[in-house]
Amino acid sequence: MADEEKFDVIVVGAGLAGSTAAYVLAKEGLQVLLIERGRQAGAKNMTGGIIYSRVVHEVFPNFWEEAPVERAITSYNIVFLGENSAVTLNLKAPGMGKPPYNAFSVLRAKFDQWIAGKAEESGATLVTGVTVDELVMENGKVKGIRSGQDELFADVVIDAEGAKSLLVEKAGLRGDFKPEDVSVGVKELIELPEEAINERFNVGGGEGASYTLVGYTKGIAGGGFLYTNKASISLGIVARIDMLAEKQVKVHELIEDYKLHPFISKLIEGGNVAEYSAQIIHEGGIAQVPRLYADGFLAAGSSACLLINNLFTLRGMDLAVASGAAAAKAVLKAKERNDFSASSLSAYESLLREAFILTDMEAFRRTPSLLNNRRFFTVYPDLACSVMEELFSVNPAPSEKAFKVVRRHMKGKAGLLDVLKDLLEVYRAL
């Protein structure tokens, strides 16, 4: 039985990283088993982001023609939320609404089924509704997986189980996550008619908007996001776990407060909440990335903490696809040598560099510390709003020069020196 069921590769998790790895490997003729614990692929997945197109296009050329994407993002916004007002930086980029596109909004329950379907089409065996409990180890080497009473063996196990990365921990590749390195994101999926979205967000059919929201989080490091899907809006908030616990703030209440902010409520008005979801997000950047490989083992996607947050964009899904492909290529190389040891699989790391994943993460290695600077979430969004408000209000009083207004509003909240230091920090980080 066990011999008959020996696979070349077992992939844990039919999300973006896992399905991509399985797809690439099966296409090359390897016997691949792709195991998903949800009833179907995507059942356990949620995203607070958009998927950047370029990297995905490399693995699945012109994927937008068949994949269930929601909208091509052509309007990019950064919004600083004050108490009652908002300052918005907006990029309108109609060019990004054409192939090869820049980014799409997606809903994972659908998108992941598509990509898992691609893996199946290419010959991978997809098994859903099965939880992998343990790795089977022998002398420190990964030999397979255990699910309930069943043990199944493979030359390599690719772990793509997602952000909790329980197997990576069990493989001894990472220590405990620190609450200050991890945020929890919650999201509400708000249904709105397609036409209402086109009109409200001033986008053409098939085009959409993305918003990165800063401020209005009760001083908790984090922020919000809002994306347009075809006939719904994804509204979410991300907050650091340590700060939530310290300040005893509940993230599910933060998002409700958020909905009442005039800037946001105008965008979601009349919509019906259809789903409430949550997920953790690794904010530690490159420093948090665990060892990516061991004997007979590779970690990909958010299981390997691959995520880039440069304050403007949050990239996770395209990194998942790219790392899944890189993991597959590393296995293919190892297969040529018939050597699945850690050193043989270490090619994975250079492949991740070639795909600019680790290099990009290194480039933004300082951004996580920005998240430690509370002024970015408390003082500056308010400051931006109140200064702009004053500059644009016309009062029967003598006008001040803009810089003076800024100074006055800063009083007691942030010193000039702080601001200069913070600007330098931003400059270095980005």
Binding site: E5, V127, G129, V130, S147, G148, Q149, D150, L152
Partner: protein, 261 residues
């Protein structure tokens, strides 16, 4: 023992939405194996484990029902048969039984037919008794336990006010309740093994039937579907002496005829 399990790939009722006008939205509702049919499959597997035999699972439903049949194969069925329903689920239980009976007869001899007491979507509970009637075999419905010994099938029926033990010689049809067992969750190995088990898809014509024939036996017409908005009345009694509050509650309940008086 030759066992046939009848299973439905039923609408997932949790996924049925009601539109603002009160009409249920049934297009595109995902399906799943009706829960109680899994109890029937578990009962079949338990018998097979004790005394050997074969388990064939038969389903009348859409092509997508293959997904559900895979699950039942993984639970322990040996062979799966799908009779494709060309009507999109518009036929009544008489048509279902016509198709199931034809399929079962084509499979040859059997000792025991097992099914759930009812399906989780329509919940008519008619297919079992109709099928037994059509095949002219005895039926034991609402079985909360089941024993096969030698040449007899014994089951304890869960009736309103009594447990009734009924014995019958094969071939017999037994419908089971949820209480009879806890259906197993297929293991990884079982799922992998199941992917190699035979699954046969039959068109009605393969069974000597036709869509017209089924439409003819299907005499039930659905003239209206209306969603319920379960809005509670939310009558709250407060700041009153206990006796008074209790009396007020009782008078509401009597008006609602909720007390049987």
């Amino acid at each position: 023992m030759e066992i046939v399990v009848c299973a439905k790939y039923a609408l997932d009722v949790a996924e049925i939405k009601i539109d603002p006008s009160g009409k249920p939205l049934l297009d595109g509702v995902p399906r799943r194996v009706s829960d109680i049919d899994k109890n029937a499959m578990e009962a079949a597997v338990n018998i097979k484990e004790k005394q050997g035999g074969t388990i064939k699972v038969v389903c009348f439903g859409p092509a997508s029902a293959k997904e559900g049949l895979k699950e039942l194969l993984a639970m322990g069925a040996d062979e799966a048969y799908l009779v494709e329903d060309p009507s999109g689920g518009m036929l009544d239980t008489a048509a279902t039984v016509e198709a199931l009976a034809a399929a079962i007869q084509k499979l040859g001899s059997f000792d025991l037919i097992l099914c759930g007491e009812a399906t989780t979507d329509g919940y008519t509970g008619q297919v079992g008794p109709r099928l037994a009637g059509k095949l002219g075999i005895p039926q034991i419905t609402y079985a909360r336990n089941l024993n096969v010994e030698g040449n007899s099938v014994t089951a304890e029926r869960d009736l309103e006010d009594a447990y009734e033990t009924v014995k019958a010689p094969p071939p017999v049809l037994v419908s089971v309740t949820r209480e009879i067992n806890v259906p197993r969750i297929p293991s990884l190995m079982a799922i992998l093994k199941a992917s190699k088990k035979p699954m046969t898809v039959w068109k009605l014509e393969d069974l000597g039937l036709s869509k017209e024939k089924l439409e003819q036996v299907s005499t039930l017409r659905t003239v209206d579907l209306q969603g319920f908005a379960v809005e509670r009345k939310r009558v709250i009694i407060k700041d009153k002496p206990v006796e008074e509050a209790v009396q007020e509650l009782i008078s509401y309940l009597m008006k609602e005829k909720a007390l049987g008086v």
